[in-house]
Symmetry: C2
Subunit: 403 residues, 2 copies
Amino acid sequence: MLEVKTPEEVLRLIEKEFIPCGLSETVLLSEALGRVLAEDIKADEFVPDFDRSTVDGYALRAKDTFGCSDAIPAVLSLAGEIRMGEAAEINVPRDFCAYVPTGGAIPEGCDCVVMVEYTEDYGDGTIGILKPGAPGMNMIFRGDDVFPGKTVLKSGRVLSPQDIGALAAIGRILVPVRPHLRVGVISTGDELVSTDSTPGPGQVRDVNSPMLEALLKDFGAEPVNFGIVTDDEKLLKEKTAAAAENCDAVIISGGSSAGVKDAACRIIDELGELLFHGIAIKPGKPTILGKTGNKPLIGLPGHPVAALFVAKLFVLPLLAQLEGRKMRSWPVRAELAESLNANHGRMQVNACCLEEGDGKLKAVPVRSKSGLITQLAGADGYLVIGRDLEGLPKDAEVEVYWH
Amino acid sequence: MLEVKTPEEVLRLIEKEFIPCGLSETVLLSEALGRVLAEDIKADEFVPDFDRSTVDGYALRAKDTFGCSDAIPAVLSLAGEIRMGEAAEINVPRDFCAYVPTGGAIPEGCDCVVMVEYTEDYGDGTIGILKPGAPGMNMIFRGDDVFPGKTVLKSGRVLSPQDIGALAAIGRILVPVRPHLRVGVISTGDELVSTDSTPGPGQVRDVNSPMLEALLKDFGAEPVNFGIVTDDEKLLKEKTAAAAENCDAVIISGGSSAGVKDAACRIIDELGELLFHGIAIKPGKPTILGKTGNKPLIGLPGHPVAALFVAKLFVLPLLAQLEGRKMRSWPVRAELAESLNANHGRMQVNACCLEEGDGKLKAVPVRSKSGLITQLAGADGYLVIGRDLEGLPKDAEVEVYWH
């Protein structure tokens, strides 16, 4: 019998046992949002490709304005006006200046821009400068944003809207990303009927398949539904083998009765290698992990609430490991609205709602019997109580994972 | 001239000026992830529809086991075994018990389940109970999770994977959701060329259109690209009118030079009503909001960084208001890794990265000149410095918005 693992041991095991795939596919920039970058992105040009003004004002040489003030303006001749989207082809000799709009190109020889608010147009072809310029003032230099060879984004990053903006800036219209992971989803249990059926006596609808498929889609994986399998070891083995053949990972959920749990262990062991059976977490203990090649075979508890917590805490990090994805997410700190018991020698996970009041954020635990899915519907997230704690008092500071 | 509004005034104005749409469309449960619920969802049946066991054990009458112990077991006759997915049709008289697996139905007359670990099968048709039962122990009652009329999910909620699970549990395969908001996106500026072009002298690629379109998709809206419009007031007015006709909201970005800013104000005023011009925020001051009917006409700054912050802080809440969506998101608290200056009398927004070390989460500000999009690529989020602060010292506690 394999030992029950602690959550930390499970996460270390995932890193040790599974190798990030090196696969890459190319998508259009307009389809790249939320995808996982498969390579570092380096720029191969300058952005901007010219010195630009960051204000509406006059481009000039700073040294022509030293010492000027409201009382004693520096008077410069106007050489002309730069137009947006055009090269700065105006010749600006010493003691001359040129009008330049925000974003406009700076003429050669000029080294700063004085904002129009600090100037006076005398109307006779001369401009009074009321505040001295300093070299570089109100300018972005060529390549300030990006220069050839600069790493703009790192491999493993999940592309955000601002990353899409950065890729647009450097003209990257084709983006190398990880292929979507295909994840097979199998529900087991003689009591399960599909979502669109009306349960007969002793039956319940399959909650785990649609819930896990939604979770996988939300993560950016492609769920493949292998249906509901009754508690028949031969059939379950066939389905699991087919799923492992066709997918990058397989999740079997359910089979919470003792006989079926053993069957899932046997099947995983026969199809590949059983890594552990049991995580010291409540709810979620009867979790199984194995692998065939680099493909994880995951047995989740049948209780939807346990299945959800285990999927979020361990399955998503495992899929991220397969993709070489950097997971970036952080809990929010809140004050516990009611005391919570925990004395199981296991890490405990509790659904909660977040409520603002008196300038404080309160975490209100959702209390209900195990296996009730509606405790989660409407909840904002979950909090974790460490295995060494006997619970948490009211007003304790807790960290709530809400995403 | 309209006054510059504070961020709080802008958010209040949005609530006051725009009416949540009452529209609804029906989608399949498998397509409902991330959609905004258009009605409260009430159950019309019991879940579970029968009393269920939460453990593998023996269903019995608690009073038949009072006072029993390891030393003096209560000896009950075995009436039979309940099978998963079947009605509990076994007759269990007094002083009898029935084996029931986790999730199995409880036979009539039984009021609790004693875990198999606390029993002994004597092999002669009798079972020794070593620990007394208590009414309700290890059971979920009919309707414990859901009963007819119970509100399972509230209107305005963005459907999460667990909500999909709850809808599956009650057999809701058709879900009423808000239609996707169509948002027209227009970029203006003579210096702009499309992402797939190579900028000539004085030109830059349009960053705002692809970035804002990605942000809108991420939010769950449908962006409609109206292209790049040069600084031509007549053309811009035509495009804006066409976008307002076809969409639920219009975003014009760019036009940061003084003349074009005035043009955008005039256009919005002519097509509808100008609500304000300017938000006391840095970057992002030159933001314009108007409306035609209940459709917002939004003028965003041309700087991509300013456009992004204003879109996140004000445009997304505005779209949520139109949908009747409840926005649920919270910042993470971190320690500022370096001091930050701010003395503008305006709220200041700063991109930052989050780094873990010494058991602390540090917010490392991204420093760069305004308008640089790559300062955001790779950043984890942003923090806000209130308008009354002159900056923040190193180690100050800050709240980072990362999503």
